[in-house]
């Protein structure tokens, strides 16, 4: 529960700078996307999404900084590495979405399966980008129940209980 409170506080703190950076970040992403596709158009040709891409970065950074068990250097390095990864994912998503939109000729029957799939796939980073990267970078430190359950005799992974199950949890106090 402490993690939730910390996440909420960090996300609230980071919401303001992310909000202020939203336009500049979108402009940079749009320019990089157009450059990758060699489209001679101004960055304003790509309209900003409803939810600013910068906000996903803030939420991810808040998840990392809120960590209850990882050390500060690990939190900060996970946040920096993850933010860099998210920037790449958002840029790649933009490239795929714009490239697809340029070839997209919608039929009279509405969007096809492939068009809907592309829409859904390009919408995914906003939903799962932050939690998935967080799990990849800090998941081993932040899944306390697995350890506690191992210590209690239940082994969700099917393996034997480990010495680490009795690790003192000073970070939670």
């Amino acid at each position: 529960m402490k993690w939730l409170l910390r996440f909420f506080l960090w996300a609230t703190v980071l919401a303001a700078p992310c909000w202020l950076l939203a336009d500049a970040y979108h402009h940079a992403l749009a320019a990089a996307t157009l450059a990758a596709l060699r489209i001679p158009a101004p960055a304003t040709a790509i309209p900003p999404p409803d939810i600013p891409a910068s906000h996903v970065l803030g939420v991810f950074a808040a998840m990392c900084l809120a960590s209850a068990r990882a050390s500060w250097p690990r939190r900060v390095s996970a946040a920096l590495l993850g933010v860099a990864g998210l920037v790449l994912i958002e840029w790649a998503t933009g490239v795929v979405a714009v490239a697809w939109a340029m070839h997209d000729v919608q039929g009279p029957a509405g969007p096809s399966f492939l068009e809907r799939l592309t829409d859904n796939v390009t919408a995914l980073p906003a939903w799962i980008g932050a939690p998935v990267l967080w799990l990849a970078l800090l998941g081993d430190a932040e899944l306390p129940t697995q350890r506690k359950r191992r210590g209690a005799g239940a082994h969700p992974g099917g393996g034997p209980p480990r010495a680490e199950a009795h690790r003192p949890r000073a970070a939670d106090r």
Partner: protein, 189 residues
Amino acid sequence: MTAPAGRHPAKGAARAAGPARPALAGDRRAALKLLLRILVGWALATGVLSLFPGIDRWAVASTVASVATTLRVMSFAPTVDGSTILLAGGALRIIPECTPLMPILLLAIAMASYPAPPAWKLAGVAAGALALWAYNVVRMLALMATLVWWPRSFKFIHVYLWQTVTLLVICALFMLWLGLLDRRGRATS
């Protein structure tokens, strides 16, 4: 409070309990396994959502109906025009992203991917879906109130409620489920 970097509990445990390195590697493997299952779950969910666009339409229609019914229960008189809810001069258009479908999928896929008894997963998904549906109605009401009374703050509140609070609620429900699972594991061991 958080332990300082130099006195991280894992390091203490490594000294006290011996072979901590293989245990940490095991934790990492378990986390990566969970991550892989989640990604496979999302691949399947994305395919199903793309294959059956009616799911999105149903989610939008049900969200509109839930919000309008809640407003009527609260003695308001909203007007529903397709996927738009009109109230006191404010108009809120519900799009697929405004429905609790993706948050429910996020929670359900995480629960389904986590090692737990199938009945426990089903119970968690059902209870979580109900809770997230209720949360989304509250979120919509909060957005409606913002739109009517503080229209200039709407965009910020929309972003903040969409991402931060929704993810917080999903994490809280998942952690609650993990806590109950842990308690159940202890009771049965």
